[in-house]
């Protein structure tokens, strides 16, 4: 039986993953994972390649549903919902790779989410209307792509494509944003830019789960960190505790990186 909110005084969580597993044949990509995320929180997920981080996102977003366990969002079971219904429920995601609509302009790319992502449209319309124009503009301004609306998505540089994915996700007006390696492959200056944009998103009250290998990004943005290995949770707690956890240092960070990370966190908090 669930002893519920009792000990940690956590209010009703926004998202609850309870004993979630995803099997591919004999392989358990995600194995019996449970985690709660409360509204307004930023949860960072780290771990070696193949740990099952993206598979967890695939399960939450409905693209590749969980084999067992349940995923509850705002008190509603979304474990078996198709991706479009998950989007309408208020969960948006970005992708590790440059996923977007390459043959469209930046503006139309975001328009897809603004028009189709906010609510389930039973009857398709024949025009977009001015409200979706405003929503597109707002999302592009939030990520700083307002003056690139006419450019072709397929020709954008990597950092702009990452920002565009964020704008697309935001245009669907999500309560929970899943960010899959938002700064993978970016240079330090670009990482700072995305970090600033992410802080702006947090400032809007949007709850975030982010997957990232760039540890300085992960620890500086996250309220709480979860480290996965072989589909299982090996650490869940504060970013500061990460570098002192023997298991995490051995499996993922390594001695050198963990010392540098420790120094960085002291520097930031000082």
């Amino acid at each position: 039986m669930e002893t519920a909110a009792g000990d940690d005084q956590m209010e009703e969580p926004l998202l609850t993953c309870r004993n979630v597993s995803k099997h591919f044949g004999a392989l358990a990509a995600v194995n019996n994972l449970s985690v709660k995320v409360k509204a307004g929180e930023v949860l960072g997920i780290g771990g070696p390649n193949g740990a099952g981080k993206t598979t967890l996102f695939e399960a939450i977003s409905g693209l590749n549903p969980a084999s067992s366990g349940e995923i509850i969002f705002q008190g509603r079971d979304i474990t078996r919902l198709p991706p479009d219904a998950v989007c309408h429920a208020g969960i948006a995601r970005t992708y590790q790779l440059n996923a977007g609509f390459d043959s469209m302009s930046v503006r139309d790319n975001v328009r897809v989410a603004a028009y189709f992502g906010r609510r389930n449209r039973r009857i398709p319309g024949f025009r977009f209307g001015s409200d979706s124009d405003a929503q597109v503009r707002e999302a592009l301004e939030l990520v700083g792509l307002a003056d690139k609306g006419d450019e072709l998505t397929g020709r954008l540089p990597v950092v702009d494509r990452k920002l565009l994915m964020l704008a697309g996700a935001l245009a669907s007006n999500p309560k929970l944003l899943l960010m899959d390696e938002p700064v993978g492959g970016l240079n330090p200056k670009e990482i700072d830019l995305v970090m600033e944009v992410t802080r702006r998103i947090v400032g809007r009250g949007i709850t975030i789960i982010l997957i990232e290998h760039v540890m300085r990004f992960l620890v500086q943005l996250s309220d709480r960190v979860l480290i996965m290995h072989h589909g299982e949770k090996i650490y869940e707690g504060s970013p500061q505790g990460l570098v002192h956890d023997r298991n995490v240092v051995d499996v993922y960070l390594g001695e050198g990186a963990s010392q540098r990370l420790g120094a960085l966190m002291q520097q930031v908090s000082a």
């Binding site: 989007c87 469209m104 139309d108 028009y115 189709f116 398709p124 025009r127 697309g168």
Partner: protein, 330 residues
């Protein structure tokens, strides 16, 4: 939403076409142009399904036949005025299309083609294999669906009485009017939210679904809506020729129409119209050659599929911004 440029092109084309009966006294040209309008309606709507929605449906002529047969049967059995029978027939076609779509659209590409072709064959066999007399008019035994002979004398739009020998000119303008409406509809689809949804699904299906686009739902809507003008074209075809029989189910006609889309440019706005025009002219030019005509059409189709798969609209000269159907960043 159609752009001003699309509407301008359409207005110019309609205005030019409207001149045809005024500049030629030849009945043959006017009646062939009317037939062109009918086929052009069919291919603009089929193009929405095939090129925009990415649904490999071969049910298009079966839906056309549903429109034509509904019209004939409403006139023959209920003596309904044709002006009333036309919209009813179009709605019946939408209903049938929705049922076919609901059955087919969860399947993947080639299976959609197989099942829709099977539906068309089933309808064909249902009509031709039924030899039991439903009524016995003076002209002889009449099966419920008309059998191999089909229906004649089920009514017309009244132009034969009104204009005498010149009735075909009125039909020309009815056909042109219906085509203009059908093109407007396809413009609204391609330039509107549905066109954007299908473009997103083509570019990246997973990402499109995660942004709230439901593939099945929009494919079903497209399949159902495009049947309206297809059925209307069938209805007008029956009225224009004052006859309808099972020959509309022929595979060679289906291929002839599909070639129009391929030659013009699949998925584009103006390509199917251009293809329809070119293939009808080619067909006309090869009229003297008997059996060589089908072979010639086959060669044209094969040539385009191999050398110009995106059709004439895929040629560099046609790829001016906004001229082709695909929305681009301009």
């Amino acid at each position: 939403m159609p752009t001003r440029r699309d509407l301008l092109i359409l207005a110019v084309l309609v205005a030019l076409a409207a001149l045809i009966p005024l500049v030629t006294g030849m009945r043959y040209i006017v009646t062939q142009a009317t037939l062109f309008f009918i086929w052009a309606i069919v291919v603009t709507q089929w193009n929405l399904v095939l090129g925009v929605g990415g649904i490999f449906s071969l049910a298009q002529m079966a839906l056309f036949a549903v429109g034509a047969y509904s019209t004939a049967m409403l006139g023959y059995y209920f003596e309904l005025p044709m002006l009333l029978a036309m919209p009813i027939a179009a709605l019946v076609t939408v209903l049938v299309s929705t049922l076919v779509g609901a059955a087919c659209l969860r399947l993947k590409g080639p299976y959609v083609a197989l099942l829709t072709l099977a539906v068309a064959q089933m309808l064909y066999l249902l009509i031709t294999n039924d030899t039991a007399c439903f009524t016995n008019p003076p002209s002889g035994c009449m099966p419920f669906f008309g059998g191999v002979r089909g229906f004649t004398r089920f009514g017309d739009l009244g132009f034969r009485e009104l204009l005498g020998g010149k009735w075909y000119v009125a039909h020309f303008y009815v056909g042109l009017f219906l085509l203009a409406l059908a093109v407007l509809f396809s413009l609204a689809i391609i330039r509107g939210p549905m066109g954007l949804a299908f473009q997103a699904l083509r570019d990246n299906p997973g990402c499109a679904m995660s942004r709230g686009v439901s593939k099945f739902k929009y494919q079903l809507w497209l399949f159902a809506l495009s049947a309206f003008f297809t059925g209307l074209a069938g209805s007008f075809y029956a009225i224009n020729f004052a006859a309808i029989g099972p020959t509309v189910f022929s595979i060679s006609l289906l291929l002839f129409l599909m070639s129009m889309i391929v030659v013009g440019g699949i998925g584009t706005i103006w390509g199917p119209l251009l293809g329809a025009l070119i293939l009808m002219l080619t067909d006309e030019a090869m009229r003297e050659f008997g059996d060589w005509r089908d072979i010639g059409l086959g060669l044209i189709l094969a040539g385009f599929v191999i050398f110009l798969p995106r059709g004439l609209m895929g040629l560099p000269v046609a790829r001016l911004p906004r001229l082709s159907g695909r929305r681009r960043a301009d």
